[in-house]
């Protein structure tokens, strides 16, 4: 039964990859999804179809330029148009982009180098608070009680410093990553997990309490308003001239901010993906993997493990720092609430669910978890709430929906659903949705040496359990 199903799936995959089929399939699904979302912007299945069609292009066998064309079309044209019609989707995709970058950063630390990190959100917080502090009135409120900004306090920096601060966020977060890295060099495994967990909490508690003696963070209230980069009316007008017929109505500057942040996030995430891929395929990436596999042997091969571990922490942190700055500006508000332990675990979940150490897997993990978080469970909640308001009931057992307890609200047991998904994944697919695979190199010698192949896999256990190093 199971094998038969598997066979069918294989046949289906073979069919989908034949000749022009993948092009039609991807194009068709994207178009269909786009039309459906366009017509009914609130329909979740339509949106999922659209996202599914877009991500399908990655997996099917197509020429590279075609894939790229599909990706550009979806990212630059279709998503902004749909986003302008229903701003909520833009929010979803923005969050997917942000969390993809975070998950990729964490993947360098956890996936490539094998260093467990439970406090990753701290770096995100560093980036966010960096712009929150300098991009708001906060520097002038150092001696005020939180929440009592005098009327007419000016902003510290001009809004367009934001772009520079994305880079500053990278640098500052990397430095903080190095600082965290120093104690990390002394411990391994479980101890490392505890230290990083503590570090994450320390940062959050600092943000919570640094409203005295100098009011740096505004405490638990958080900092607001935070400036966004300036947007001239001309830009909005220009966008509207092209896209108004497509969207069906003019886009307000406020909505346009969402598109702007989406595009910046997209740009950063593409940069992050390129950097991750290229680092992975260099002596640095190989050294990270070697450290993960066997640190002692890596050292004996000439790899300075401490330096590379620090590097992994710094690179991973820098991605989070950049996204933190973006986050602060897009929300115009930050508070310590956003950087809890649970948030760190959330990112770790994306990495593990998607495929630890696998770049595409981690992105898929970010997509799945974010959509699950923001959309599917919430929409079920809404749907149940609507049912509860109605007079509908299940006939045979005579159950009236309005008697349904509030406790059964799916958004209330989101974590439970997550937990179940994770447990099932770890049992049936422990390497993740898209497991990491080593890159196959094009080697000249393909003929197998008979001698090596014939050699019986004699591996006497006694010899391998050496007592010495």
């Amino acid at each position: 039964m199971k094998t038969k199903l598997r066979e069918r799936m294989r046949e289906l995959a073979a069919f989908c990859n034949k000749g022009a089929v993948p092009y039609w399939l991807t194009g068709g699904l994207i178009t269909l999804g786009f039309i459906l979302v366009y017509i009914s912007p609130r329909s979740i299945p339509a949106f999922l179809l659209f996202v599914g069609g877009a991500s399908l292009s990655y997996f099917l066998d197509m020429k590279k330029p075609a894939k790229l064309a599909f990706a550009v079309l979806v990212a630059i044209v279709l998503v902004p148009v749909l986003g302008a019609r229903n701003i909520f989707y833009l929010e979803v995709i923005f969050q997917i982009a942000v969390f993809s970058a975070l998950a990729l950063g964490l993947n360098i630390v956890v996936g490539f180098s094998g260093l467990l990190n439970f406090g990753y959100m701290a770096f995100y917080a560093v980036g966010a608070y960096l712009w929150a502090f300098f991009g708001s009135q906060q520097p002038f409120l150092l001696h005020e009680i939180p929440g009592t900004a005098p009327q007419g306090t000016p902003f510290f920096l001009a809004p367009d410093w934001f772009y520079l601060f994305i880079f500053l966020g990278i640098i500052v977060a990397a430095i903080v990553g190095l600082i965290l890295g120093l104690p990390v060099l002394r411990v391994r495994g479980d101890y490392l997990a505890v230290i990083t967990l503590a570090f994450g909490e320390i940062v959050r508690q600092l943000l919570n309490n640094l409203d005295k003696p100098l009011n740096l963070t505004n405490g638990p209230q958080g900092i607001t308003p935070i400036q966004r980069p300036t947007l001239t009316p001309e830009v909005v007008a220009f966008f509207n001239r092209i896209f108004e017929p497509l969207v069906g109505r003019p886009v307000t500057p406020n909505q346009f901010y969402n598109i702007l942040f989406y595009l910046i996030a997209l740009f950063v995430v593409i940069l992050v993906i390129v950097i991750t891929f290229r680092l992975d395929d260099s002596k640095i990436g190989r050294a990270w993997t070697a450290i993960r596999e066997d640190e002692l042997a890596a050292g004996a091969m000439g790899i300075p493990a401490n330096k590379l571990k620090l590097g992994a922490f710094a690179v991973g942190a820098s991605f989070a720092g950049a996204m933190g700055v973006l986050f602060a500006a897009s929300r115009t508000f930050v508070s310590p609430e956003s950087f809890t332990f649970l948030a760190s675990v959330n990112v770790l979940t994306m990495v593990i669910l998607g495929g630890i150490g696998s770049i595409s897997g981690v992105i898929v993990g970010a997509v799945v978890v974010t959509i699950l978080n923001l959309q599917v469970l919430q929409s079920i909640s809404l749907w149940l709430a609507a049912l509860r308001q109605s007079d509908a009931f299940i006939p045979i057992i005579n159950f009236h929906w309005k008697d349904l307890s509030n406790q059964l609200d799916p958004s209330k047991y989101q974590r439970l659903v997550f937990g179940i998904i994770l447990v099932l994944m770890m049992i049936y697919r422990p390497a993740g949705i898209l497991p990491a695979a080593r890159r196959k190199r094009e080697l000249k010698v393909h003929a197998k040496d008979p001698e090596v192949e014939v050699a019986e896999p004699a591996s006497p256990a006694g010899d391998r359990e050496g007592k010495n190093v």
Partner: protein, 273 residues
């Protein structure tokens, strides 16, 4: 023996683990371009001595001079950079990486590239990667591994893994190669091949080789000089024929009393292992 000709000059090396003295005032010198062996019963301190040379352990006392430069207590990666490579007694490959990647990791210290070059994919970087890959393939060929470059290292049979470990060590372009029981777990024909390979490494590439070995057949036929360790001390040193006759050596292997019999020799040691 002039000093300039020495590749390793270890004097009075002491390594303790708590109350146990694993290596006790060990003196050991080695000439360039030779094949030497260290033998001894289990727990004699051979691997510990190895580890003090390759930097995994820091000796409490004594000096180890490599090519005229003291290296005792240096970090292993720095010692590797000085062209010293090693293999491990219980194979320590990077099992989750392919064979080629394992060898490329071995070339870490010889690749001059940094993160910026890697991210920008400069022409120098791409060329260097290609060259390294080609070299890795040559090394695979040299140690007798063909067509398995893209296999995971852990999926290879035992003898194949030993070869990968040697290729990985060679990738760091060693002048001194430390092999810790390289033929352990091999059948006679495999160890024959291995010996042949070690001779070629020395004759063709000019690599000095220091072995720890239990297989007396290998030791006696390949070594130009043998040092015997017992309880952390060197109890004998000499050419194979001398060692085979040395009563202290036989005693160490077979216990007191066994050394009395004339002509115990290599045959007795063969039994011992």
């Amino acid at each position: 023996m002039s000093d300039a000709n020495l590749i390793i000059d270890a004097r009075e090396v002491v390594k303790r683990f708590g109350g146990l003295t694993a290596v006790n005032h060990m003196n050991f010198t080695m000439e360039k371009g030779r094949i030497y062996s260290i033998i001894g019963p289990n727990g004699a301190g051979k691997t510990t001595f190895f580890n003090t040379i390759s930097g995994l352990y820091k000796p409490e006392e004594g000096t180890i001079v490599y090519e005229g430069r003291p290296i005792q207590g240096m970090a292993p990666e720095k010692i590797t950079a000085l062209h010293v490579a090693r293999t491990f007694q219980n194979i320590r490959l990077f099992g989750g990486m392919t064979v080629v990647e394992n060898i490329l990791v071995g070339a870490y210290t010889r690749l001059k590239q940094n993160a910026v070059q890697a991210v920008l994919r400069t022409r120098a970087f791409v060329e260097q990667e290609k060259k390294a890959e080609k070299r890795a393939e040559e090394l695979m060929e040299y140690v007798g591994l063909r067509g398995v470059g893209n296999e995971l290292a852990s999926s290879l049979p035992y003898g194949g893994q030993r070869r990968v470990e040697i290729a990985r060590a060679l990738a760091s372009e060693p002048k001194l190669l430390l092999l810790d029981e390289p033929t352990a777990g091999m059948n006679p024909s495999e160890s024959e091949d291995a010996m042949h390979l070690f001779r070629r490494l020395r004759d063709e590439l000019g690599i000095t080789i220091l072995l720890i070995e239990h297989d007396m057949k290998v030791v006696m036929s390949i070594s130009e000089r043998i040092s015997v360790m017992d309880y952390g001390e060197k109890i004998a040193e000499g050419v194979p024929a001398e060692i085979a006759r040395n009563p202290r050596v036989i005693e160490a292997y077979l216990g007191r009393g066994a050394a009395g019999g004339e002509g115990a020799g290599a045959a007795a040691m063969e039994v011992a292992r």
